[in-house]
Symmetry: C2
Subunit: 453 residues, 2 copies
């Protein structure tokens, strides 16, 4: 091996010469059907359709877009949060050079702001977990992928999810080839007895339900929240069914009132809950920072114990190595500046989203209150409400709505695996000004009345 | 999904019941054997062992750490690059508010600096691809996961990888349950005929080889590079075997000389190559920005055509939604400031790494040049070299080396799936000062002579 340099091989003679004109060379073509099923995730097709319709009818009011309101973003925040976090590192004894390394070098797989997140969870949510139980992720989406990957080991391991379900969760499971078994939600919310029944059916079929995905506060898409007694029953059901709960709570700060809505994790006395956290709405989406809390104990064959979050770090390292410490620093700076209270820091955003949801619900009452055939739900917070409509709310109808009535919405059928939601639409109010919401609902009223008559 | 660990049955019956007192409540305990096999990725165990030994013997010189040199990091760069990118957006017609939204709001799944990366690839590598063929990822690690996920659809789809192999690639495949079939590399490098032979064997066994992972420049761990004629032969072999090449090139800028070493993608006339890009060494790891170039055509059953990078965006959206635009902006600002030439921007880093590798190779010659029993290779660039040693280079020996000789290295066996590399070690020179390299090799000499005698 000494001397290193490798000589050319005899095989060189067998190579095909590139043709004179590279542009005329055979273009490698793959068949879409040979690619993995996740490439054809139906949510992507739905999103593409929505975007395409929105682009063709730019004057349509979009009651479809569920993104945060744009008005809160100033890039100056980024510089300031970065500086605050860097000062924090130096205040904790790091030299300038060490702080630079923390921000710019490879770092701890599970992240460098787990302690700040644990403080925030204690202050805002009454959740008491050690920093080592927190893993910082590339957005909440990666947290879902990591939790699913860790929990589901074999082909018989499946996960339950309340249906209608956020498409990001079913998409994450699809990437990993994990089956999602729906737990149907009633019009007034989830019944824990249904969870028990579905878990039992799954076990009877020889499969293992490893977790249950649920959004307890103002869910996307249903807007529904779980009353506190139901949360307690759900935790009891999870214990009974030996299910871990995967709790996703991106909208919890945005209730219409200040009534406390304890997270399942706050009520969790025996580590039945893996909490999936997002900063996309409470800080901003561009940080792409989320987290998971997994304080469950893991025991190996030799009796050694560790925390699930620590065990999952291997999965994290093989997905994205670690979450950009620059992005973590932005969120960390925000947490420090707010005294570790996202609730306090989000006062203005909460007011905005409350106002928008009130505007939506008032407009729906004004528009449809006299029509007994039209029903909608009344979420207690969040970005979404659901309107039952007296017609098939499919993509053809959506296109008519955009073209002839100037209003966009999301078919609820997008959030069901098989059948479901065919005559219902999701209305989003997060990204709009109140006047746009009112105009959107007015246009929706025309569509609905034309179709209902 | 294949490759999952076997799941034990009847777990519910064996669960500990929670006790009456919440604080004393039965701690939810999962069995490690019930978690996915990727949780127990051997690379993580190896890394943990190395870190643990390094922590116990802090005075040991680490010829194990392959991370970039710390001396190039200043957090001020982050602010400046962010500002440069923001100015760039405004220069291209975005308002201040639009630029803020680009940085902070949800954005394009495949990223917002694909055009800048395409310009860089043209300037530095002579690679001519449309911006739409570029997907920005959360580090190169995610690019591997996305490419693997898209290409491998069923349980019979496997991927080939040159062995010894970077553990991040085998780890990515493990997460997805994709089998990696090794293509053994000879001491003087990869023989494309071996690729053909292995691909044939795989097909004969009823499986489909969908790609070949290869690092053509100064590979981790072998340090080897492919001569240009071999690159051309490999491309011909890939065409013959109907294999896509997954080309990973994190070290290409750091050759000992300025000789051009065209990437496989630069020589690729028929889209046989998916290029996996990293900025971890050329900008900094903390950005966690990488990319893939996939300009292959994908055709669906109806004859509609798109680029593979566009098709893979669905996978990306379900893994991490999009790459933090703040992190993208940092890299984008760096590209703009350097006139789209990473080669130019990395002049100082290239000098550093060249100097370090020369120091390592000179020290090896000085230490072992008179001993015909000791051989090592002579990489033409990069961070690594391989030393064959006259003893079993296992973890027990590594611990002895750290404790009694004050030097750390990486067992080459870490980079083999089954057998291989038992009497060889990887030496890294990237993170050290030249004097540390010399001292490390001196200590290594004592270990090797003691064991060889």
């Amino acid at each position: 091996m000494t001397g290193g340099a490798v000589t050319a091989m005899g095989v060189a003679a067998t190579m095909t010469e590139p043709s004179a004109e590279p542009s005329a060379a055979g273009t490698k073509t793959l068949r879409r059907e040979d690619l993995h099923v996740s490439v054809s995730d139906p949510a992507a097709a739905s999103m593409n359709f929505l975007n395409e319709v929105a682009a063709r009818f730019p004057d349509a009011v979009s009651l479809a877009a569920g993104r945060p309101y744009d008005g809160f973003y100033t890039a100056g925040d980024v510089d300031r949060f970065l500086a605050v976090f860097r000062e924090h590192l130096i205040g904790r004894g790091q030299s300038e050079a060490q702080a630079d390394r923390t921000l710019l070098q490879y770092g701890r797989t599970n992240g460098v702001i787990g302690d700040l997140i644990a403080r925030m969870l204690a202050a805002d949510e009454g959740v008491d977990v050690p920093p080592e139980a927190v893993m910082v992720t590339a957005g909440c989406q990666e947290a879902m992928v990591i939790a699913l990957r860790g929990l589901c080991a074999g082909p018989d391991d499946v996960v339950l999810a309340v249906e209608p379900c956020y498409v990001g969760f079913t998409g994450a499971a699809r990437i990993l080839g994990i089956d999602v078994v729906p737990v149907p939600e009633a019009a007034d919310g989830l019944d824990p007895e249904t969870v028990l029944r579905v878990a039992q059916q799954v076990r009877a079929s020889g499969r293992h339900p490893r977790g249950l995905y649920v959004v307890p506060n103002f869910a996307n898409p249903s807007g529904l929240s779980m009353p506190v007694p139901v949360r307690r029953s759900l935790l009891a059901a999870a214990r009974e069914a030996d299910l871990l709960i995967l709790e996703d709570d991106p909208y919890g700060l945005f209730g219409l009132d200040d009534e406390p809505r304890p997270t399942l994790k706050a009520l969790d006395t025996d580590q039945s809950v893996i909490y999936l956290g997002s900063f996309a709405k409470s800080v901003f989406p561009g940080a792409r920072v989320g987290f998971l809390v997994a304080d469950q104990a893991v025991e190996d064959a030799a009796g050694r114990r560790s925390l699930l979050a620590e065990e999952l770090s291997t999965v994290k390292s093989m997905l994205t190595v670690n979450t950009s410490p620059i992005a973590q620093a932005v969120v960390g700076g925000m947490l420090i500046e707010s005294g570790y209270s996202l609730r306090a820091a989000n006062h203005d955003k909460t007011e905005h989203y409350r106002g928008n949801l009130r505007t939506l619900l008032t407009a729906l009452s004004r528009e449809f209150g006299d029509d007994p055939r039209i029903r909608w739900n009344a979420p207690e917070g969040g970005f979404f409400a659901v309107l039952d409509v007296p017609f098939a709310a499919d993509e053809a109808q959506l296109e008519v709505s955009a073209r002839d009535y100037g209003v966009l919405w999301t078919p609820m059928s997008y959030f069901y695996g098989a059948a479901g939601g065919e005559r219902a639409i999701r209305l989003s109010c997060s990204a709009l000004e109140p006047s746009q919401i009112e105009e959107g609902v007015r246009r929706l009223g025309m569509l609905v009345r034309d179709r209902a008559s």
